[in-house]
């Protein structure tokens, strides 16, 4: 699933827990699900940050080579 989809999922879980009267087990289950999804999101973001760093390094190299 895409990052945007997962974030929307977490938001909808939070809204559900806040607005609905749920059994405690259900709340715990939803909470656990939201936490797991947010972990995945953070892992994905971390990976994207790494890619961006690599791309920036390539761009810098391109600019330096050009001036050479």
């Amino acid at each position: 699933m895409s990052l945007e989809y997962n974030i929307e999922k977490i938001e909808s879980i939070a809204q559900k827990i806040e607005s609905e009267v749920l059994a405690i087990d259900d709340v715990l289950n939803l909470y656990e699900e939201a936490i797991l999804i947010s972990k995945d999101c953070l892992i994905t973001l971390s990976s994207q940050k790494g890619r961006l760093t690599e791309l920036n390094a390539s761009l810098e190299k391109l600019i330096i080579e050009d001036y050479d």
């Binding site: 974030i7 977490i10 938001e11 715990l28 936490i35 961006l52 761009l59 391109l62």
Partner: protein
């Protein structure tokens, strides 16, 4: 073998001199003809006197007369024949010159010029444009003369890529007109880039073939670019007027060919340099545009990642606030009867065994009493 009897040149010339000097008929003559190739220096006059079939050199020393002859004048010249032993040259020494009307030759020339002008043969609109790359040249001239050597040397000194051929003709004399016309007609079909019609300097008679109607029309009819380079700078013939370009001398014709070729090469190189410069500028500006775009994209990506990170951390904060564990930490318990969650007192009865879950563990309890 018997040796032939012979005279030396000096003996022959002396003999001729004797005949001429001793012939009284030749001491005092009046000759009629047309002035041509006139040259006057102080009181001395030099020219050629001619008629339709013949000519003779005229010298006049310290002539004192009111009438000064002009080119083409028909005149009566009084004087005597002279033979110069050293050079073997015969000339007429003039003592007096008088006018007897305009020469026929001159009149004929003027009439021809007017007629051809009226026909439009000399119009500038008829001139062919020069070829950009004259690589294959033919020169119509005498192969014995210095002209072809001058042209060849001038061209090849500067550019060995240009091929120069020569088509031999008589440039003066009885057969010259026919030969020149045939040469022009033939060479016009041979895919040369340029035809140069050239000869060195000479008298008006020497250059007469280039004033003939036949040669003028042959040049006019040619589809190949024709350069005329006839005589010296002061000589201007009808061939010069009708050709596509007149060069003052044969050497100038060679120089023109080289400059035309070199100018075209230079124009091409200049255009190529302009194109190269433009292409490099375009590449440079496109590259800079791409780099700037990439930098912008990088900034946007960084911002988006940061933004999503913040969003997720905020959501986690929100989730932690609604974490059910917080209720346990506040002293709330979850009660179950078997697998069923107890949400109300009405769900329990006295003596029920209940499972109680709270912070850090759970226990069992029995209902003793209820309200």
């Amino acid at each position: 073998m018997l040796e032939k009897e012979y005279l030396t040149v000096s003996e022959l010339n002396s003999y001729l001199y004797g005949i001429i000097e001793n012939d009284a008929l030749l001491w005092d003559l009046v000759v009629k003809g047309e002035i041509s190739g006139l040259s006057i220096h102080k009181e001395n006059l030099y020219c050629t006197l001619k008629d339709e079939n013949s000519q003779i050199s005229i010298c006049g020393f310290k002539l004192k007369q009111k009438y000064l002859p002009k080119e083409g004048d028909s005149v009566l010249i009084s004087g005597r024949i002279s033979y110069y032993i050293k050079t073997g040259k015969l000339s007429f020494i003039a003592t007096e010159i008088e006018l007897c009307g305009s020469g026929k030759q001159f009149d004929k020339f003027q009439e021809l010029k007017a007629r051809l002008t009226k026909e439009g043969l000399f119009d500038i609109t008829h001139k062919i444009l020069p070829p950009a790359f004259p690589q294959n040249i033919v020169v119509i001239t005498s192969k014995e003369g210095a002209v072809i050597k001058d042209i060849y040397k001038t061209i090849h000194k500067n550019n060995k890529q240009i091929a120069v051929s020569v088509y031999n003709v008589s440039v003066q004399g009885i057969s010259s007109v026919k030969e020149i016309v045939e040469a022009l007609s033939f060479l016009d079909k041979q895919n040369f880039d340029v035809i140069i019609l050239a000869r060195g300097g000479g008298s008006a008679e020497d250059l007469s073939a280039f004033n003939s109607e036949e040669v003028v029309r042959a040049i006019y009819a040619a589809k190949t670019f024709v350069i005329s380079a006839i005589g010296h700078e002061v000589d201007f013939t009808l061939s010069d007027a009708v050709s596509d370009l007149r060069c003052l001398t044969p050497t100038a014709a060679g120089e023109y060919i080289v400059s035309q070729y070199n100018n075209s090469i230079n124009r091409i190189f200049s255009s190529l340099q302009t194109i190269e410069k433009k292409v490099n500028m375009t590449i440079e500006s496109t590259k800079n545009l791409a780099i700037n775009c990439l930098k912008k994209i990088s900034l946007i990506a960084q911002f988006k990642i940061s933004s999503e990170e913040k969003n997720i951390y905020n959501l986690r904060k929100t989730l932690s606030l609604i974490n059910p564990q917080n209720l346990f930490n506040k002293g709330y318990f979850k009660i179950k009867k078997g697998d069923v969650n107890i949400c109300s007192v009405q769900d329990v009865c006295v003596n029920d065994i209940l499972n109680v879950y709270g912070n850090k563990g759970s226990f069992s309890a029995k209902v003793i009493d209820k309200d």
